[in-house]
């Protein structure tokens, strides 16, 4: 259904716009998302703070807009990396077959059987300084989360592309191309990959949703993006502490996550039922 695809793309475009204009909007409203203002602690929504203020008096609207950058950035980076890695490994397994196929697919089975969330918690608690990375930088946090999510995220795409590639490799036009003397590299690039675009697109759209949710869960648990950098997840964690003082503060970040995930699901749905 075309309407689902359009609605989903519209939602995602709005969120992308919010992420892009975050610094501009902060300028227009005249609010710094990082500057505490202790006189405005838990301020209710007002013309001065359109969505209210948090426990340090920071403006919630500008923090929400900056949070969109983190969420969409992590979501898109994870989906892109997982799709590229998953497609490469899936096609490799289907094309080479034999022990390469066996090893990759057993690895995939093993990763799928594991309890993902507890392992993510364990991995997220690792100290980046011991691996030689700077600690506490937002970019390091994002990189760490994307790496951890890709570690699990490639599996779904790889299984999907392996199955698709096996079907294509057994088809007559591939045999015809081989009989014409096409090199294996060109065969994979020109004849196998184009046939995998549709399923990978659907899987990527769902991967964006999964990554946005996983990032917000990790940040909510205090293991993802570290304050003062705002992310929807750590904003919700702060809001849960303040359910008595400012119950409304819990509304906005969750709504933003919901819209992002719904947008991705609608796009995936729309792509899979043409």
């Amino acid at each position: 259904m075309m309407t689902r695809l359009r609605l989903g793309l519209l939602l995602l475009a709005l969120l992308a716009l919010a992420a892009l204009i975050a610094p501009l909007a902060a300028g227009w409203i005249g609010k710094d998302p990082f500057a505490p203002d202790l006189f405005a602690r838990y301020a209710p929504p007002s013309p001065d703070h359109p969505l209210g203020a948090d426990e340090l008096g920071r403006d919630l609207l500008t923090r929400l807009l900056y949070g969109a950058r983190i969420s969409l950035g992590v979501g898109l980076a994870t989906a892109l990396a997982a799709s590229v890695l998953g497609t490469a490994l899936g096609v490799l397994a289907a094309w080479r077959g034999g022990w390469v196929d066996t090893v990759l697919m057993r690895l995939a089975d093993g990763l799928l059987a594991l309890p993902a969330l507890p392992i993510l918690v364990l991995l997220a608690a690792m100290d980046p300084a011991r691996l030689g990375l700077p600690r506490g930088e937002a970019v390091t946090d994002m990189l760490r989360i994307v790496t951890i999510l890709v570690l699990f995220g490639w599996v779904g795409v790889a299984r999907l592309t392996r199955a698709g590639a096996l079907t294509i490799l057994a088809s007559d036009y591939v045999r015809a191309a081989r009989a014409l003397g096409v090199t294996e590299a060109r065969l994979l690039w020109r004849h196998v990959l184009p046939g995998l675009v549709a399923p990978v697109a659907v899987a990527s759209a769902l991967a964006v949703a999964g990554a946005i949710l996983a990032e917000s869960v990790l940040s909510f648990l205090g293991l993802g993006i570290q304050p003062p950098t705002p992310s929807w997840g750590n904003m919700l964690a702060n809001a849960q502490e303040a359910v008595f003082a400012a119950p409304l503060a819990a509304l906005w970040p969750g709504l933003a996550i919901l819209l992002a995930i719904a947008g991705c699901s609608l796009v995936a749905d729309g792509l899979s039922r043409p």
Partner: protein
């Protein structure tokens, strides 16, 4: 069926062994070790004391050797102690596992019942289908920890009907503490069951044996209950098989939001509190339960549909 189990059990053992090794090294990369924590709480410790403590707890040995010593102990049934709770690890793990299984079991039962009801509604009344569609889309997109917070704000803070979280006093009723967490998990899970039930029931209702049952004068309720649902249950069990593991480990978020003392919360506290031994054993127990649940669901599916065993 026996063949499947015989094939799967060694796989499970191998996965656990590899996971424990990987997790051992991941924990080694976490900031701080027990001795540096001891130093933190007692600054009078001298460097000699530190060296003595490290040697006493074998922290000066290479990681692989420490792993082998630990794994040997676990295989002999020596699970060691939890530093955080100052108790033997099994005494901490069993109550937590029971609490999580109760929570997840109740949530799955509720989600399956509500999902099949919604799916049945969509299959029987095509006019309600878009509404059910929209409801499932919403249920799938709502982040569970956000839903949990909203439920706490509404039912615990505003209305004061239910506790915001935690566990009952010894001897108190468990039920009030279960309502909100169960609703939180079940709401998200319901969506998948509703979608699959709607698809399976719609396909099933179009088949000849349904037309024949209707022609014989069976009531709609009887047709749905006796003729359509048993066949439609097989894909739902597949879904349960795929989800069973994720549910046990996914309870972590809900348990954290509601401060419920379950496996997820325990694991999180152990990782945060630098309690190596407890974190590792809790992770392995969750993985074991996850894989056994998936195996059990696979076996149940083969029992329902013997064609799969061929």
């Amino acid at each position: 069926m026996l063949r499947l189990a015989a094939l799967r059990l060694p796989q499970i053992a191998l996965t656990l062994a590899l996971l424990s090794l990987a997790a051992w090294f991941a924990i080694g990369l976490m900031p701080g070790d027990p001795v540096s924590l001891a130093l933190f709480s007692d600054p009078r410790l001298t460097p000699e004391d530190i060296a003595r403590l490290r040697a006493l707890h074998s922290l000066d040995q290479p990681m692989l050797e420490r792993y082998l010593a630990w794994a040997g102990g676990v295989l002999r049934g020596e699970f060691g102690y939890s530093r955080l709770f100052a108790q033997p690890v099994p005494a901490v793990l069993w109550p937590a596992l029971r609490s999580t299984l109760v929570l997840v079991g109740a949530a799955v039962a509720l989600a399956a019942a509500a999902g099949v009801a919604l799916g049945g509604l969509a299959a029987l009344r095509p006019r309600a289908a878009p509404l059910v569609d929209a409801a499932t889309l919403l249920a799938q997109a709502v982040p569970s920890f956000w839903l949990g917070i909203l439920l706490i704000i509404l039912f615990a803070v505003r209305l004061g009907w239910l506790p915001a979280g935690g566990a009952p006093e010894p001897g108190g009723s468990v039920l009030p503490f279960l309502v909100l967490p169960v609703a939180t998990i079940a709401f998200g899970q319901m969506a998948a069951y509703a979608r699959h039930a709607a698809a399976a029931l719609t396909a099933e209702l179009a088949r000849p044996h349904i037309t024949s049952a209707r022609a014989r004068g069976g009531s709609e309720a009887r047709v749905l209950w006796r003729h359509a649902l048993p066949n439609a249950a097989v894909p739902l069990l597949t879904l349960l098989a795929l989800d069973a593991g994720g549910l046990v480990s996914g309870a972590l978020v809900t348990e954290t939001v509601f401060a419920r003392p379950g496996m997820g919360k325990l694991l999180y506290d152990a990782v945060m509190g630098n309690d190596y031994n407890l974190a590792l054993l809790a992770l392995l127990l969750v993985a074991l339960v996850t894989m056994l649940a998936t195996l059990a669901a696979d076996l149940a599916q083969r029992w329902l549909d013997p064609r799969l065993d061929a």
